[in-house]
């Protein structure tokens, strides 16, 4: 009897979870299947993976697209730019989100599997150097000063602000930044320190940008860097430092990122599209076209900087070259 009763409990639990998972239910396969029967009834599924910075952008585009095309399922993963390329070159995804251009070894991996791709710039981002709102001496930093501060040779040596610039007070430096797996880290070190991955190591690294926000907003003498959206959402506690690239101090903003005057820290964000899948999957073709044409709307929804007219023209040309 005892065991029978347990059997009943288990059966109920099992039935419950089955019922839960059975309610609702659209079809969804991760493969690159797609059938076209005119524009009216697109169906199929599209898989994308890659940078967690670009992820929200593709998610926004997917969401807007899917409200008009309910038969299409688009999924987004955030394995990081490198992880995304790995899957893309295995043919597991049709779109790869990237916050940096594809590397040579990744190209080779794609070639080996016969995956042809097209790179398209879909938005701009301004890597923003932030300090505490109450910080009074850090208004503008030259790229040289940033290099003094973040260069690999600064490790253990540059510890007070007056070492960066004699005009700054002799306060202790506290640094926060993204971890070494991040595309943001790659881009910043490449532009500022002249070599990708070369950075001082005695800073507080975090893969979660919100940790950097908390660190900098809690310490008057702290400095950190990350994508513009995290600054925008935390303007009440953070202050963006202007960057001087020899042409005067420029503050990061949508405008300066779009026209490129916020140099060298404004960066393009990419998607990579599988050419073969683009040709065979009507849903993918429709989605990419939608993504580019509605770039302004997509960028706004994801809180990124939309393409300039010139960039958009390039993107449209790239799209046309896909066929």
């Amino acid at each position: 009897m005892k065991t029978k009763r347990f059997g009943a409990t288990a059966a109920i639990a099992l039935a419950g979870s089955l019922a839960l998972s059975a309610c609702g239910g659209q079809q969804a396969d991760s493969g690159a299947t797609g059938s076209s029967s005119g524009d009216a009834a697109l169906s199929g599924s599209i898989a994308s993976d890659g940078s967690s910075t670009v992820g929200p952008l593709t998610s926004a585009a997917a969401e807007l697209f899917m409200t008009e095309n309910t038969g299409v399922n688009i999924t987004v993963g955030t394995s990081g730019t490198g992880g995304g390329f790995k899957k893309f070159c295995e043919g597991q995804t049709q779109i790869s989100n990237a916050s940096r251009p594809i590397k040579d070894e990744e190209k080779a991996a794609c070639d080996a599997k016969g995956i042809e791709y097209q790179e398209i710039v879909v938005a701009n981002d301004a890597l923003t150097v932030v300090v505490n709102k109450e910080n009074t001496f850090l208004e503008c930093l030259t790229t040289e000063e940033l290099k003094t501060l973040w260069g690999p040779e600064a490790t253990g040596k540059v510890t007070t602000w007056n070492q960066v610039n004699p005009k700054f007070p002799a306060e202790k430096i506290k640094l926060y930044g993204p971890g070494t797996d991040s595309g943001t880290f790659d881009y910043f070190t490449d532009e500022i320190n002249g070599e990708e991955g070369a950075s001082r190591t005695d800073y507080e690294p975090s893969e979660d940008d919100n940790v950097i926000v908390q660190g900098v907003s809690g310490d008057k003498n702290a400095l950190g860097y990350f994508g513009y959206t995290y600054f925008e959402e935390n303007e009440s506690t953070l202050k963006a430092v202007k960057v001087d690239n020899g042409k005067g101090c420029v503050a990061p903003s949508a405008d300066t990122a779009r026209d490129g005057s916020y140099a060298p820290l404004s960066r393009p964000l990419f998607i990579y599209v599988d050419k073969k899948a683009f040709a065979s999957n009507a849903a993918l073709k429709a989605f990419i076209t939608y993504y580019i044409e509605n770039d302004a709307k997509v960028a706004e929804a994801a809180k990124y900087v939309a393409l300039s007219d010139e960039q958009k023209k390039t993107a449209q040309d790239e799209l046309a070259s896909l066929g």
Partner: protein, 301 residues
């Protein structure tokens, strides 16, 4: 601090600590240190629970259950796909881990010779598997999925990863439960002419079900909170459909929470907190169920 009073007499064997009448300075200091350790642990947990609850309370509504995640409108985003994804993956995990785990434990406990090299080899492996970090199982499942040729971020691949993760726990719990079944039951069954297999399936296993169920439910509730192995499989963070089969793409609650918590918008961070509360409640309910089952059957026995 009432436990400090000297006249509280402990169960049969009083230990030489302050709680059991020892009043030496050193044992008092040791007791206080123990209390401080306990208080610290509980305090951290309490702070975590309270802050999570405060962050997430505004989003604890029906939208959390019925809406999909949304990039455009974070204020109405929900965890529907993650909740259903968790249900699917945990079900798949249970379907794989329980039969294999119970079978392996039955073999080791009821059939294998204690001295056989093979049995000792298996036993050693089970013990080692229990100590392997969760993320390694993710790598293993990813490799298995690629070898078989199915996409990595599917329900079945996630189920394999979590089933491997909890298999040692299921095996150990089942062995303990089988060991607790009185030897007389087996002897009586065999004496009445039942085969060893019949003895196992009709007498020993049914008698061990409460123990097996308790261990398995605890293991499943651990699997429910795992993010690392599934992230390694390429867990999706933006899914706007319900999973519909073993080859369907999916997201689970820990993956979704992990993604939301790192977003810049405060709405997503609140959502991460409310989904955490939901996950916590689910795990507590499962653990409660395990306790109920255990108490019910140990009382009946």
């Amino acid at each position: 601090m009432t436990a400090l009073t000297a006249d509280r007499v402990g169960p049969p064997k009083p230990l030489a600590t302050a709680a059991h009448g020892e009043k030496g300075l050193r044992s008092m200091a040791f007791l206080i240190a123990l209390w401080l350790c306990l208080a610290f642990g509980i305090l951290v947990l309490a702070v975590l629970l309270v802050t999570t609850f405060l962050d997430g309370r505004e989003r604890m509504d029906s939208g959390l259950f019925t809406n999909y995640t949304s990039q455009i409108a974070p204020e109405t985003a929900g965890a529907r796909a993650a909740i259903l994804g968790t249900a699917w993956v945990i079900l798949t995990t249970a379907l794989m881990a329980i039969p294999i785990g119970v079978a392996a434990a039955s073999y080791l406990e009821e059939f294998a010779s204690r001295t056989s090299r093979f049995a000792r080899f298996v036993e050693l492996n089970v013990q080692n598997l229990a100590a392997v970090p969760a993320i390694i199982y993710g790598m293993l499942a990813a490799a298995a999925a690629v070898a078989v040729g199915i996409p990595r971020n599917t329900v079945i691949a996630g189920g394999i990863a979590l089933a491997l993760l909890i298999l040692p726990v299921v095996i150990v719990a089942t062995r303990e439960a089988l060991r607790a079944v009185p030897q007389e039951i087996r002897q009586a069954s065999l004496a009445l002419g039942a085969s060893p297999m019949q003895t196992l399936s009709r007498q020993t296993l049914p008698a061990a079900v409460p123990g097996i169920a308790t261990g398995t439910i605890l293991a499943l509730s651990r699997a429910m909170g795992e993010a690392a192995p599934l992230l390694l499989l390429g867990g999706l963070v933006f899914v706007k459909f319900d999973p519909n089969g073993f080859l369907s793409g999916f997201t689970t609650m820990p993956i979704q929470i992990f993604d939301w918590a790192a977003r810049s918008q405060v709405e997503f961070q609140q959502l991460a907190a409310s989904a955490s509360i939901l996950l916590l409640v689910l795990v507590i309910v499962l653990n409660g169920l395990a306790i109920v089952i255990r108490n019910k059957y140990s009382a009946a026995r």
